[in-house]
Symmetry: C2
């Protein structure tokens, strides 16, 4: 999607890849589809499982249904009702567990032993990363001369795939990961040269709270030029601009990648004139998803 | 746009024509463009004006800018700031007047006498109606075998154009106008066989408060099969479903045309089994616009 008014605000030509309009409401459908359809018939027959409770879970349920196999989603017993509904709507089988990492892993292990189901990690998996890479691939097929590609970073699956596609098809383009300042472990990890643990995240971007895996960390170190940090206020401001001008629903995590371009943050962190830097540039922005609770918006009055 | 989950809810195949994604944020861009570009060079040089304050005003300003001519928008002095901003953003010149119909007309007349500008009525104009007709035209080019087309009705420009395109290209398809129950003058007018005055409208669908003109009334009488009425609660419910599943921003007026299909109201007013009636049917729905104030949503918490 394009928007002349957002272009004017950014002082650049913006090209939005709308993964919020993707099936299941996020880019996670790409990786989940690739992983599920990469399984042998024998593996597939045993079903798949994951213990993410967010967009990957919904996508995996839908991808499994597409292949006609079972998908179990291990979820903490305190997971929000809205996430359970999304998974159930796509035919996923929810397995509630103690709301701890140990509880999750024990429940997943028990299920794997009992059923032989294949565990599909949300990002620490080459098949998943290859799937996520198709978003930037399609964007570059449409706009081959992008100068810069922005994608959010959490566990690093989408950003790894974005960087692989971009640096292959358009080596001259910069790839910048975008992360909430309140969940800045990817920026810290890349600066330190080793995976840093996440602080207790207090970001509204609930899709961006995971930490890098060694697999994604290695790809990002090699191919990503910079990580831009975005405050909570900037997430709301970017989200509002996207809703208002593009007329599409973008979740907070999805808006994180648009914020640096819309709010002139690109370049300013590298001490160059941001407005001048953006001028006439072609910027690809991956709006990663559109799943959010309409009762908990950062704007709007109380429900009527 | 399509949505398998909305299809499942409706028990029908729904094809959404997303005029919320149209330039200026509504279908009004179609009529305004056709009218502005239908003017002779001599007429165009004098500029255009209107005294609508809603989507037509913004569209006319943008269409005039596209042609490189002036557009004056006569607005009541109490018009919401957000509407003034939209017009100004597209280069429209705002002329404030007394907030009465007499005040509007006096201001418009004075301007016409002074400048020779061409008054372009928001719907009582064949060029405007012809422009609005292209939304259904494009929809039927994409889906030639629609059984039913739903469009909102206010002054009747969009519904007239929708009916003309549909009955010409696909005579077998039914055309149903959709109107808030709290602004039901079109339904009353068609039932009475004469234009009935609007009651004082208390609908959140602020784009649907106008009344029919003789021109649009005559077209609707001839070509529209039915007018479905939608309550305020149903508008919110339809809007919420569209936001949640299509992931696009649809204004209340735009959601009115989706409500009868999503909430199984089609047919039930004609005493047939609505669910059965919808089954397997192909329904085209014109989502007329996406302009609304994000600070005044019918859902969401107080602003952070």
């Amino acid at each position: 999607m394009r928007s002349s008014s957002l272009d004017a605000i950014a002082g650049a030509q913006l090209f939005f890849k709308c993964e919020n309009l993707q099936r299941s409401g996020s880019f996670k459908m790409r990786g989940a589809t690739n992983a599920v359809f990469s399984l042998s018939d024998e593996e597939a027959a045993r079903g798949v499982l994951t213990h993410s409770s967010g967009n990957h879970a919904a996508a995996l349920a839908l991808a499994a249904r597409d292949r006609g196999i079972r998908a179990w989603i291990v979820m903490p017993s305190d997971a929000p009702q809205i996430k359970r509904r999304a998974v159930a709507a796509f035919g996923g089988e929810i397995l509630l567990c103690e709301p701890t990492m140990a509880g999750r892993e024990a429940a997943a292990q028990e299920l794997i032993l009992r059923t032989g189901a294949v565990l599909l990690h949300p990002y620490d998996d080459d098949r998943i990363i290859a799937g996520q890479a198709t978003a930037a691939l399609e964007l570059l097929e449409d706009v081959p001369d992008l100068d810069l590609v922005l994608a959010p970073v959490s566990g690093g699956g989408l950003l790894s795939g974005t960087a692989i596609s971009t640096k292959h098809l358009r080596p001259a383009a910069r790839v910048v990961g975008c992360e909430p300042r309140n969940a800045d472990d990817a920026a810290r990890s890349l600066a330190a040269g080793r995976i840093e643990p996440a602080a207790k995240s207090r970001t509204m971007a609930d899709g961006l709270r995971a930490t890098l895996a060694p697999r994604t960390f290695a790809i990002l170190r090699r191919l990503v030029d910079h990580v831009a940090l975005v405050t909570e206020e900037e997430i709301v401001e970017a989200m509002r601009l996207l809703w208002d001008r593009l007329k599409v629903i973008v979740e907070p995590s999805g808006a994180v990648a648009a914020a640096p371009a819309l709010l002139h943050k690109i370049g300013s962190e590298e001490n160059v004139n941001a407005a001048q830097q953006n001028q006439q540039k072609k910027i690809g922005i991956i709006l990663s998803g559109g799943n959010l609770d309409l009762d908990a918006l950062p704007f709007g009055r109380a429900a009527s």
